[in-house]
């Protein structure tokens, strides 16, 4: 493939420059992976060597269509997979070698929600975020409760505390799930398709909240998504994935090139630069018409 395979690493961002000078948190260096169905057969999916760095207070989106390798990359970062080659390090420690508890004290993951087996109240759910810190008898301390309360407050969900998880709306649930991740007091916050079941208002609200949290709590935030427009609007860095390869790493303005996006998303697209220097993506010929998120939803769902 003729696409460039030497990613631009650690470029200063155009979003106000708050990341410049911030220390590097996450280093992904030539990390690769291969899935096998059975022992000696050829791999059914491979992730080619990928490299990028993420700094404190930075939002990085891993962008790509379905089956592009973005979830595999996220699993390598979360430490649930060990890279076949290369290294994935958090502040100099290899993530897959950390013991599960230590890892959970540093890295929090927000999944698309799983069904709960038994009815649980939102407050209890958030308290589970303190699990990696619990000691022998595992009773929550005053401190744990305070941290959980603060986490709920930070996502604006204090009023949901005593509600049942199965009775609140999708957007509210997403906030509570995020609060549980905050209660882990991580330094690296990972989100897997967090906007999937949210309406556009809730999507924007979530990403604005993530940006604010990254700033206030000094998180490094990694978001896996296929929403072109949201990534353009909120990411400091974009890691563009296609067919198990990382095609480009850089600021949205660097990555959002028409030929590249058209190749990856297999749709006729136009890219122009908005007033704040952030790219805007449209279906070709409808610059004032349909924005890209709707296109992506039509195409993929």
């Amino acid at each position: 493939m003729s696409t460039p395979n030497n990613p631009v690493v650690g470029m200063p961002s155009q979003s106000g420059g708050q990341q410049t000078g911030e220390p590097v948190r996450l280093t992904v260096e030539q990390a690769s992976y291969a899935y096998h169905t059975k022992g000696n057969t050829a791999p059914v999916f491979t992730l080619a060597a990928t490299s990028f760095e993420a700094r404190q207070r930075e939002i990085v989106t891993i962008l790509g269509p379905n089956a592009s390798g973005k979830s595999t990359l996220l699993k390598l970062i979360a430490g649930s997979l060990e890279p076949l080659s290369g290294r994935v390090e958090l502040e100099g420690f290899e993530i897959s070698r950390l013991n599960p508890r230590t890892r959970a004290q540093r890295i929090a993951m927000v999944h698309q929600e799983s069904p709960l087996l038994f009815p649980t109240r939102a407050g209890e759910y958030v308290l589970q975020g303190r699990h990696p810190y619990s000691r022998m008898m595992r009773f929550e301390t005053e401190n744990d409760i305070q941290i959980a309360e603060n986490a709920l407050a930070q996502v604006g969900a204090t009023h949901l505390r005593d509600r049942w998880m199965h009775e609140i709306s999708g957007g509210e649930k997403q906030r509570v799930i995020l609060a549980r991740a905050l209660a882990q007091q991580p330094i690296l916050l990972l989100l897997d398709e967090p906007t999937l079941h949210l309406d556009i208002g809730a999507q924007v609200e979530l990403l604005e909240r993530l940006r604010q949290l990254a700033l206030e709590n000094r998180y490094t935030v990694i978001v896996v998504t296929h929403e072109l427009s949201l990534a353009a609007e909120f990411a400091d860095q974009v890691v563009l994935m296609h067919n198990g390869k990382c095609l480009r790493v850089g600021t949205p303005a660097e990555v959002y090139r028409r030929d590249l996006l058209e190749q990856v998303f297999e749709a006729p697209l136009d890219v122009d630069i908005g007033p704040e220097g952030r790219p805007r993506v449209h279906i070709r010929g409808t610059k004032t018409g349909r924005p890209a998120p709707i296109l992506m939803q039509d195409k993929l769902f």
């Binding site: 979360a78 649930s80 599960p100 508890r101 230590t102 890892r103 959970a104 004290q105 890295i107 929090a108 993951m109 999944h111 799983s114 069904p115 709960l116 087996l117 038994f118 009815p119 649980t120 407050g123 209890e124 759910y125 308290l127 589970q128 975020g129 699990h131 990696p132 619990s134 008898m137 595992r138 009773f139 929550e140 744990d144 409760i145 959980a148 309360e149 505390r161 005593d162 882990q184």
Partner: protein, 339 residues
């Protein structure tokens, strides 16, 4: 936010133990020979004060040789079955899981009978073989219950029910080929029965097994809370899911095996009691495990007392009583889940 505290846990267990005490007193009192509370207190007092020789011999026989060991056995078996039910519910992510419904009890029974046929000379062969039978069955049901690599709720229940019926057929086969056995005894045992007196030593083995099994499961209680909110998420919250599952599978099979080896397949205790406890005290496994153990003891002592008394002097097998009460409850839960 009302998190669990040690005093709340003690409060809950204390209240349940009080209920258990009342149920035990009633169980000692009623029966073919009714005994007044005053007599009971007097004679229990004599035993506690070390004056057992003053207890009239007919009392000693009825209360201490017949009723008390049976109540003790019901408590152990009820506790074991309930804790193993509540554990299977978390692990298999299925609120309808129960050692009886999943066929684990029948697996234990096959193990126990095989042990008694092929190696009757080995001490404790019945509980050991029942444990092996139980663990083999839950492994089989687990693999049969998966669809496309995922545990599927409905497939799992079907796998359990099919296994149970297959294993019951194996038991019938084994029993009918055994000549000269007490057929009524065997049939009673199959339906779940507490009336066969056990050697004293076996009571202690059972108690040790119960403490060991429940203790091991209890060490994972906080992990189980996280696992019931999603296995994938639990890994990211620092839970060693593989280790927890292994500990709980082995311990729950041990509890089922022990219970089955002394009392046969008593159904629905492991389903009914944990649900009742969840309704009363919530789904926190740190409360659910001890409360299910005491609740199971209460339920089975009560059910066995009913079994002894409703048609006195004829006794019903206690498994029939729990099934009559439990099966409709199972259907109710299933219907509610389907809606």
């Amino acid at each position: 936010m009302k998190p669990l505290t040690l005093s709340r846990l003690f409060w809950i267990c204390g209240s349940l133990l009080t209920v258990l005490f009342v149920v035990v007193v009633v169980a000692l009192k009623v029966g073919a020979v009714p005994i007044s509370i005053a007599d009971l207190a007097l004679n229990l007092g004599r035993v506690i004060l070390g004056r057992a020789s003053q207890v009239p011999s007919e009392y000693r026989f009825v209360v201490f040789d017949l009723r008390l060991p049976r109540i003790f056995l019901a408590m152990l078996v009820g506790g074991a079955l309930s804790v193993s039910g509540t554990s299977f519910q978390a692990l298999l992510r299925n609120p309808l899981a129960d050692p009886y419904v999943l066929g684990v009890s029948s697996g234990g029974a096959v193990g126990a009978i095989m042990g008694l046929i092929f190696a009757p000379q080995i001490p404790l062969v019945a509980p050991l073989a029942a444990f092996l039978g139980a663990i083999a069955t839950i492994a089989a049901v687990y693999f049969l219950g998966r669809r496309k690599g995922q545990l599927d709720s409905t497939t799992l229940l079907l796998a359990g029910i099919i296994s149970a019926s297959f294993l019951s057929a194996v038991i019938s086969f084994l029993v009918t080929t055994l000549a000269g056995q007490n057929l009524r005894g065997i049939v009673f045992w199959l339906m779940g029965d507490l009336s066969t007196p056990l050697p004293d030593a076996l009571h202690w083995v059972l108690l040790a097994g119960l403490i060991l099994g429940v203790g091991a499961i209890y060490t994972t209680a906080a992990d189980l809370n996280v696992i019931t909110a999603g296995e994938r998420e639990a890994i990211h919250l620092g839970v060693d899911v593989t280790r927890v599952k292994l500990v709980v599978y082995v311990s729950a099979s041990l509890l089922t095996g022990l219970a089955v080896s002394v009392s046969g397949a008593i159904g629905y205790v492991g389903l009914l009691v944990p649900h009742a406890m969840r309704m009363l005290f919530g789904s926190d496994y740190r409360v659910l495990i001890p409360s299910s153990m005491i609740g199971g003891a209460i339920a089975l002592v009560a059910a066995d007392t009913l079994a002894r008394t409703v048609m006195k002097p004829t006794e019903l097998p206690v498994g029939a009583v729990t099934a009559i009460l439990g099966a409709p409850f199972f259907i109710y839960l299933l219907r509610r889940r389907l809606q």
